[in-house]
Amino acid sequence: MARIWIALGVLLAQAWTGVGAARAQERPLAFVGAHLIPIDGDEVEQGVLVIADGKIAAVGRAGEVELPPDAEVIDATGRVIMPGLVDTHSHVGGIGGADGSGPIQPGVRVMDSINVRDAGFRRVVAGGLTTLNIMPGSGHLSSGQTVYCKMRFWREPDGSSHARAIEDIAIRDTRTREEGGFGVGTVMGGLKMANGTNSQRNPPFPGTRGKSASLVREKFIAAQEYAEKIERADGDPEKMPARDLDMEALVEVMEGRRIVHHHTHRADDIMTVLRLADEFGFRVVLHHVSEGWRVADEIASFEGVPGPDGTAWGAPCSVILVDSPGGKLEARHLVFETPGILEKAGARVALHTDDWITDSRYFLRMPAISVRAGMSREAALRAVTLSGAEMLDLGDRVGSLTPGKDADFVVLDGDPLSVYTKVRETWVEGHRVFDRDDPDDRLHAVGGYGAAGESEPYFCCYQHLIGEGQ
């Protein structure tokens, strides 16, 4: 049965890539004269970016890059071009993951809930974001599987949107299972987990931190036993355990294919995540990490799980900065200095919007505030591009202006870390998906969600904490 699904996935993937390839831009495009921020190398003052067939073809200094003879040349003088932004933690799309029936539901997939017509996506591209990890909320110890998406919201020649369903924006793996991937053509995603206060509720949810960790250990031990049964069956269908979606997801986690994206704020909660990751050997990205500054060395030197390249990665962090501390007890000691402190400790640092908590349209504000509080410019810009991509196992596909990578980039009218700078254009796989000069796009760039009459936005971890009537 599993094989059938994988085979179907491959078929779907092939069908999809077929469409995508046919719709990529006809001629190579050369953006000439722009200030380039490639992320994987030094910034280029007078640069040239060439894209062809939805991929980056060449990056370099003007005059040093040979333009393809059939290239359409676009004067980008005065513009700044950087890779499309990668958001490791977003809640756009009217999502719904696990329900109230239990605290740990890894079998639930957020991809089965996403409305690609949600205007949230229009704001996402207005902010220059091109790759998202869309997650269910933090009100559970595990609220389900996340999905990695590409903002393929370009128009087809008949005027319709390319993105008609989640399948059109989901990112599919190019790695085989032998390589540690999900299998070629399979939709990629992580597993959302949380500890601390958001997931503490009335039974069957945990009431304390100790109970939270205990419930998680219990579930992982069950998954270990499930995996052992499969191994012992050695392909004999009679001996195979009955399929269990929760168990399957946790086995993928323990095999290192599915990365755990773990909501965690307080220093002691962060240490609990590391303890569990060490015990069960799962790859983890720490999310929010408000008190990461207290345990920066522990995070940076974490050796429980190696990175995808087999080297020590520490525990990668995806940090959020909001404009003041507090609002809930676990965010009481949130500070702007966290990204810089983690960087200095040697940790890998990405940033995320947690949209709706912060709006995707000013995602670039976060690396800027990180620089304000001590992070280096290089690490801050990497934190919203390549570092994020690496934490989604997408570092070889997106996140930098590197030949061979997807042609995902943002055209800015000034320095990315200035409040006065605007995103002028956003490109995904060689297609322009946002143009500030287009009145409709501009409306989404400055207006509220009423601009498109979508459904109510989903508030991660918000409603049950605040309650109704406030």
Binding site: V322, S324, G326, G327, G450, F459, G469
Partner: protein, 417 residues
């Protein structure tokens, strides 16, 4: 009687002001009262500004501490906040910004709830905010009063500039009750407000006639509120101060129809009105300009939901373009971030059409004038309070730091932010 309390409080605040001497020299001084001064100097004596001008024209008295910075602005003024009432922890016992027991309670004084030691007060101060109008939050038809305080002080009396500074009302679904309780609809909200203001008028008439004896006052339906002996009614007193024009009525409204209802009420009862939030105010900009109603516009980065779904980053700019006076606010937040910072909200407005100069005014002098303390704070002029924010660059830039903050001539923050 309440006026007397107010006067005593003011006197106290003057006595306690630790007015000191200090001087500031900055590459650019934005006085907000005239053109920016290149290489400017501000001299503060006994807590008040004694001189402002170019370095070659203003003498710095001997022995006075001199702060150096790239940019100096007036201490920032946040026109609508809940800091000091809506505590950082967001647990029941530190949330004093909204009382739900009745829909109309204008007598609730922010003065009796403000905690000068809440960490968020110090937090906003470290970003250059020296004056805030804070108090009861939106969310009930009339939720109470606001005060204006400096962001220092051991007690509210020490921090106080003005009390009450306004009475606050909400005309939006957030003030609606469920379960058959009133107000349950927009129409009922306006009806209840009108009824209350009419009763207040009658109360005022009665008191003017010296006719304060007990009797049928038409309040028969207000059983929990029956008046002992026909004396002073705190609720009516508070609303009377609005009807007499002593304090403005801040009305929080977002939808066009709610803003319109607010303007209709103002027309009928001739109170001083300030519109708060106004997510859709840009759609009525001309009408607001004609009525001369100022707007404390929603935080630029306010998260659009429900009734604020149509807000825009360009709201402040579009209102200002139409001739409406706008001020910036941090507003009320029920989750994270627990407070916004008016500096950041003004910055985002500056970058979205309002421009540097108007955005700076909107978080200094225009905000100060709007909340009734423009004679004390909001600009760097001789005679005004020595409240100054120092920056190492354009105050609105993301990567600029607020390096020092001065209130009444005293350095109150040296944490580089």
């Amino acid at each position: 009687m309440r006026l007397l309390t107010f006067a005593v409080a003011l006197v106290l605040s003057c006595v306690c002001a630790r007015g000191q001497n200090i001087a500031v020299r900055a590459r650019v001084v934005y006085t907000v009262a005239g053109s920016p001064i290149e290489d400017g100097v501000i001299v503060v004596r006994d807590g008040k500004i004694a001189a402002v001008g170019p370095a070659d024209g203003v003498e710095i008295p001997e022995g006075v501490r001199v702060l150096q910075a790239t940019v100096a602005t007036p201490g920032l003024v946040d026109a609508r906040s809940t800091v000091g009432l809506s505590g950082i922890l967001n647990i029941d016992h530190d949330q004093d910004q909204l009382e739900h027991s009745k829909p109309i309670q204008p007598e609730l004084r922010a003065l009796d709830a403000y905690n000068p030691y809440d960490p968020l007060v110090e937090y906003v101060r470290s970003f250059g905010v020296t004056t805030v109008q804070t108090g009861n939050a939106p969310g009930e038809l009339i939720s109470g009063q606001t005060i204006v305080v400096k962001t220092v002080g051991n007690t509210v009396e020490e921090a106080l500039l003005k009390s009450p500074s306004a009475v606050v009302a909400t005309l939006s679904p957030s003030a609606r009750k469920g379960g058959g309780k009133s107000p349950g609809t927009r129409g009922k909200m306006v009806s209840m407000l009108r009824q209350e203001l009419i009763r207040t008028r009658e109360y005022m008439d009665k008191h003017e006639r010296g006719d304060a004896d007990e009797g049928e006052d038409g309040d028969a339906d207000d059983d929990e509120d029956s008046k002992p002996g026909g004396g002073t009614d705190l609720e009516k007193e508070a609303l009377a101060s609005v009807l007499r024009g002593e304090v403005p009525l801040i009305i929080t409204a977002n939808r066009v129809q709610d803003i319109d209802s607010a303007l209709r009420l103002r027309e009928e009862f001739a109170f001083k009105m300030i519109l708060d939030m106004g997510a859709e105010a840009y759609l009525l900009a001309d009408k607001l300009a004609e009525a001369g109603v100022p707007v404390i516009v929603h935080p630029t980065m306010y998260r659009a939901t429900g009734e604020t779904e149509n807000l825009t980053f360009e709201n402040a700019a579009r209102l200002a373009d139409a001739g409406v006076t706008v001020a910036m606010q941090s507003g009320y937040e029920s989750y994270v971030p627990k407070t916004r910072v008016v500096l950041f909200e003004a910055a985002m407005a500056a970058a979205n059409g309002l421009g540097f100069e108007r955005a700076l005014r909107a978080c200094t002098i225009d905000a100060a004038d709007l909340i009734g303390v423009g004679d004390r704070v909001g600009s760097l002029e001789v005679g005004k309070d020595g409240d100054i924010a120092l920056f190492d660059g354009d105050p609105f830039e993301y990567t600029t730091h607020c390096v020092e903050v001065v209130i009444d001539g005293v350095v109150v923050s040296e944490r580089v932010r």
